[in-house]
Symmetry: C2
Subunit: 334 residues, 2 copies
């Protein structure tokens, strides 16, 4: 029989529809991807085309050649701009709005147009994560910033048309309802138990064992019990750390390895699917709280939300996380 499961981190329900269920291998991307060149003269992210982009906010360069490996700069078409008044204005005493004050940056992950993150070396992934953290720390010092979302859109179905490997940071001047809701659940759990919900989640998932993709000393990778999407994948630290800004260099190195092999498993197992990932971290000013744990969520874009999901907020998923995790666990990466 099908099951309804509750996401312990949001209290949202998910329907695992076994009557409609598919085998993990049914989600393998069927079509061949078009060949992507290693350089594109029209791409503002390619090495050699730096003049097409705005001035950089960060770059890591080889000492000898001075060639860059990773670069960051403001998004040319930003959703937010880093100036203006953040006072809420009320229109006719009912409609609440404010200036869209914030920061929107791009992190170019490699000078090479066609080098997917999943196929990089650990040291290259480490550069990308280091850049995330450095820009995260810089933006979190801006007085108007309440939350910073680090994310990556990979492929058309994931909402990007830019092929060149890149990630983005958006710093917003409000605490979104969506985040408040997650924090409320975690605070309540902390108040009830004196423990961090996410740390307990890591322990419980490891105890259950059946949804684990891989595990290292400091991280666990799993498909969550109440997976909202087929192959939704979490990377969760085992240590208490509310903010991604507090990950040490040593830990970041291990994370680079874990992220790389997780993405490589997806790349090989599902034939290079489109995906988003997002690093969910503490609110600014709450970096040392004991109720939250930063984590990285990967959402392969394999299905479309439809009217029921839009209306109810309940996902219907046609894959069993126990089966998809086993499938991913078995994909060879070494």
């Amino acid at each position: 029989m099908s099951q309804i499961r509750q996401d312990p981190t949001t209290k949202e329900w998910v329907i695992i529809a076994r009557e409609r269920s598919k085998r993990p291998s049914d989600f393998v991307h069927a079509k061949a991807r078009p060949e992507i060149p290693s350089f594109l003269s029209s791409c503002p992210f390619c090495a050699g085309n730096e003049a097409m982009a705005v001035p950089e906010t960060l770059s890591y360069r080889d000492e000898k050649t001075q060639r860059w490996r990773v670069r960051a700069f403001a998004n040319k078409f930003p959703a937010l701009t880093p100036q203006g008044d953040t006072t809420r204005s009320e229109e006719k005493g009912f409609f609440l709005g404010m200036n869209s004050v914030g920061v929107h940056e791009v992190i170019v992950e490699t000078p090479v147009h066609n080098k997917a993150l999943a196929l990089m070396e650990d040291t290259e992934v480490m550069d990308v994560l280091r850049a995330y953290q450095e820009r995260y720390k810089a933006l979190s010092r801006l007085p108007f910033v309440k939350l910073i979302i680090i994310f990556k859109n990979y492929g058309l179905a994931a909402g990007t048309s830019l092929e060149h490997p890149h990630s983005q940071l958006i710093a917003v001047p409000v605490v979104p309802k969506h985040i408040r809701m997650r924090h409320e659940v975690a605070v309540r759990y902390y108040d009830d138990t004196g423990r961090c919900l996410y740390s307990d989640l890591a322990v419980r998932e490891l105890e259950a064992g059946e949804r684990i993709v891989t595990e290292t000393e400091r991280f666990v990778v799993f498909h969550p019990f109440a997976s909202h999407e087929p192959f939704e994948t979490w990377i969760l630290p085992k240590m208490q750390q509310a903010c991604f800004c507090d990950v040490s260099a040593e830990e970041l190195k291990e994370l680079a390895y874990v992220l790389r092999i997780t993405l490589l498993k997806l790349y090989r197992g599902l034939n290079n699917p489109d995906f988003n990932y997002v690093i969910d971290s503490a609110l600014t000013g709450e970096e040392s709280n004991e109720y939250y744990l930063w984590h990285l969520r990967i959402i392969p874009r394999l299905t479309e939300a439809a009217g029921f999901e839009i209306g109810s907020g309940i996902s219907i998923t046609t894959a069993l996380p126990e089966e998809t995790a086993q499938f991913m666990h078995d994909v060879q990466v070494d």
Copy 2:
């Protein structure tokens, strides 16, 4: 400058990105749609193929010919099944689940394979709405049902592969977090003001005037101030009515006209776009509450949610609802 706006019904923020903004006409579906036949021998919803579907739960038939105009039956691959125990079970004291008890029905809107709802007569749309209401009332009497979502998926981008015009009802045994959140906002507003948030919203939108698509005696159609998606469209009754089940025959007739011309404006204005719509109504057992108002939301599927939306719950929209509403207002339908 861009603006951040708050949805008064959910307290969610939306970024209206003017720097990236597009004109309403940029959203017109560019490609020609493939020709769809009026009958398909493999379609279980076509007249003549009734034996391929499960037994019906409703049909409206012509008195003389006994041919059906609208039919309902259980979904052949249901997300939920109408039997079993609804007790929550706890796995290892942490993971909460239950049997997926519920009802999942299909309403076939016409015997003709290629007759889009937007192109029907008012009387035909009226039949569809009457069927929604009749099945809604029947399902709401089942003891395990807490919420009924009526929805329509139109086109591949909206999550359906079935061309034959149809809608669906799903009755669930839990109150989703997503719905609780909306109700909490409405209850708080009611407690503060003694009025229904949604009724006030109708009044305020009519006062503002700049986002109105059309208006009749009993309904207002508008693009909301904090539109989550380009061309998101609401049909809101002007009378206090928490539950869709309480719409009278006279009101339903007017709604049929309003829904038809709203869909026809979309069909003509955006060249037959994919869309979802959903009727959001009171929880069962709360049908007479004074804080909520049922309403119909139409979401054309013109953009893809990306990593930022997934991580923050904040939508970035590239269309200004004032401009899209004016565009739709001007589309001729008579």
